[in-house]
C-alpha cells in the first residue's frame, strides 16, 4: 500500500480518533434502571436533625471515604438573639462522633447536615478541563476516576466545599448520592442510617414521591441561592444565618 504524505497526514488523526472510540467502549447496560425516569435530589429537615453523626459514619463505611475528608458532614450553628449575621459554627471531625455538650444556654442551636447539592447547573462540571465530572441524565453529579487529572479546579469551584482530592487515588472525589444503591431501588447510606428521618432521598420525576406534597406545605430553601447553581438538596426550615 503506497500512501502519500498527504494521505498519512489525514489518516493519522482519523486513526487516533477511532482509537479513542475503541478505548471508550460502550456504557454498562442496566436493564432494570432507566435514567430518564429519575431526577434525584435530597430533602433535609433541619428541625429533625439531632446531630448524632450516623450519616457521616454510614457514608464513610459505605463509600470508603478517607480520613480527614467528608462526602457528607454536619455543622452545628449557635445563633444568639439579634446576631444572625455572626453565628458560631462548629463541625468537629465533620460531626462524625457527634457534638460536644452545649455550654451556653443563650440563643438557639441547630444542626445542618451538608453534602454535595448535585446542582443542575453546577459550577464544578463547568470548570473541569476534560469533562471528567458531569451531571448524569438523572441529575447526579459524578466523577469519572479513570479520566480525572486531579487538578482540583472543581474543588476550588464548588461553592459548598463538598469536594476533595482523594489522597490515594489522586482524583477528585465527592458524594455520589450512593449511585450504586439508588439505581438498585435502595436509598442512600446517609438517609438509611438517619434515626429521625431528617434526610430523605427524593425523586422529583416520580409523581408518587412524597416530596411533591411536602413542597406544597412547607417552606424549603437551598444553600447559597445567590450562586444560582440549581442545587437539588432542599432544606426545610433553614435559618437565615446558615452559610
Amino acid at each position: 500500500m503506497n500512501l502519500s504524505r498527504r494521505q498519512i497526514l489525514v489518516l493519522l488523526p482519523a486513526a487516533a480518533v477511532a482509537w479513542k472510540y475503541v478505548l471508550a467502549d460502550s456504557p454498562q447496560s442496566a436493564p432494570n434502571y432507566n435514567m430518564s425516569d429519575h431526577w434525584w435530589g435530597m430533602l433535609i429537615d433541619i428541625p429533625k436533625c439531632i446531630g448524632c453523626g450516623n450519616c457521616v459514619r454510614a457514608c464513610k463505611a459505605e463509600n470508603d471515604v478517607p480520613d480527614g475528608f467528608f462526602r457528607t458532614w454536619v455543622e452545628r450553628y449557635h445563633v444568639t438573639d439579634g446576631n444572625m449575621t455572626n453565628p458560631e459554627v462548629i463541625s468537629p471531625d465533620g460531626g462524625k462522633e457527634g457534638f460536644p455538650a452545649v455550654t451556653e444556654d443563650a440563643g438557639k442551636y441547630f444542626y445542618v447536615p451538608k453534602l454535595c447539592n448535585h446542582c443542575a447547573d453546577s459550577p464544578c462540571t463547568q470548570v473541569c478541563p476534560v469533562g471528567a465530572t458531569f451531571v448524569s441524565p438523572d441529575g447526579v453529579v459524578l466523577v469519572d476516576p479513570k479520566y480525572c487529572l486531579g487538578c482540583a479546579y472543581c474543588v476550588q469551584a464548588c461553592p459548598y466545599g463538598c469536594r476533595y482530592i482523594h489522597p490515594e487515588k489522586k482524583v477528585a472525589d465527592k458524594c455520589t448520592l450512593c449511585y450504586h444503591r439508588i439505581t438498585k431501588g435502595l436509598t442512600t447510606a446517609c438517609c438509611e442510617s438517619c434515626p429521625t428521618g431528617a434526610r430523605q432521598l427524593v425523586d422529583l420525576k416520580n409523581p408518587k414521591d412524597p416530596i411533591h406534597a411536602f413542597l406544597k406545605t412547607h417552606s424549603v430553601q437551598v444553600l447559597k441561592p445567590q450562586m444560582a447553581t440549581g442545587a437539588k438538596v432542599y432544606y426545610n426550615d433553614l435559618d437565615g444565618s446558615v452559610r
Partner: protein, 159 residues
C-alpha cells in the same frame, strides 16, 4: 477541628471552614506558575520594545529576551504537572477538552503563544544562522539544521 487562630471569615462566621476545605489543594505549586509566566511576559515585552516600538537602546537584548521567554515558557508547565494527581493524563486537556472550562481553553492559548509567537519568531530571527550551521555541522545535527532551513542554502539578506 479548625483552631481559633484560623480566623477564616465566611460571611461573618469566625473560626470555621468547611471540613473539606481545611486542606488547601491549590497552594505553592500553582503560585509558581503565574510567577514564571510573568517572567515570560516581561522578557517578551523587552523583545517587543526593540522590534515593534523600535527602541534602539534595547537592541542588543532582542535575541536573549526571546530565548529567555521561550525557555521559561517551556518550564512553566512543570509545577502544574507536579501538582496534578495524574500528570500522565494531562494531554487529555488538548485531545478531549471541555469547552466551558477556562483551564482547557487557556491550554490552547498557551500552545498558540508558545508555537506561533515564540518558536516562530525565534526561527525567523535565526534563519541565517541556521543556514550557516547547516553547512558547518556533520551527521544527525546537520540533518536537523537542514530541516529547519527548509532546504534553503542562500544567505543573502533578501532570502
Amino acid at each position: 477541628m479548625a483552631e481559633s487562630w484560623e480566623l477564616v471569615f465566611m460571611n461573618g462566621v469566625e473560626g470555621f471552614m468547611y471540613p473539606n476545605e481545611i486542606e488547601l489543594h491549590w497552594s505553592v505549586l500553582i503560585v509558581l506558575y503565574p510567577f514564571i509566566t510573568g517572567l515570560v511576559a516581561g522578557a517578551f515585552i523587552l523583545a517587543s520594545l526593540e522590534r515593534v516600538f523600535r527602541v534602539e537602546a534595547v537592541k542588543p537584548t532582542y535575541r536573549l529576551a526571546l530565548l529567555t521567554a521561550l525557555s521559561f515558557l517551556i518550564v512553566a508547565p512543570l509545577p502544574l504537572q507536579l501538582h496534578l494527581g495524574h500528570p500522565e493524563r494531562s494531554p487529555e486537556m488538548y485531545f478531549t477538552p471541555h469547552s466551558t472550562s477556562a483551564m482547557a481553553m487557556f491550554g490552547y492559548v498557551y500552545l498558540w503563544y508558545l508555537m506561533a509567537v515564540l518558536v516562530f519568531e525565534i526561527w525567523l530571527d535565526y534563519r541565517r544562522d541556521i543556514v550557516l550551521l547547516a553547512q558547518r555541522s556533520r551527521g544527525l545535527l546537520r540533518l536537523v539544521y537542514r530541516v529547519m532551513t527548509l532546504g534553503i542554502r542562500c544567505t543573502s539578506t533578501s532570502a
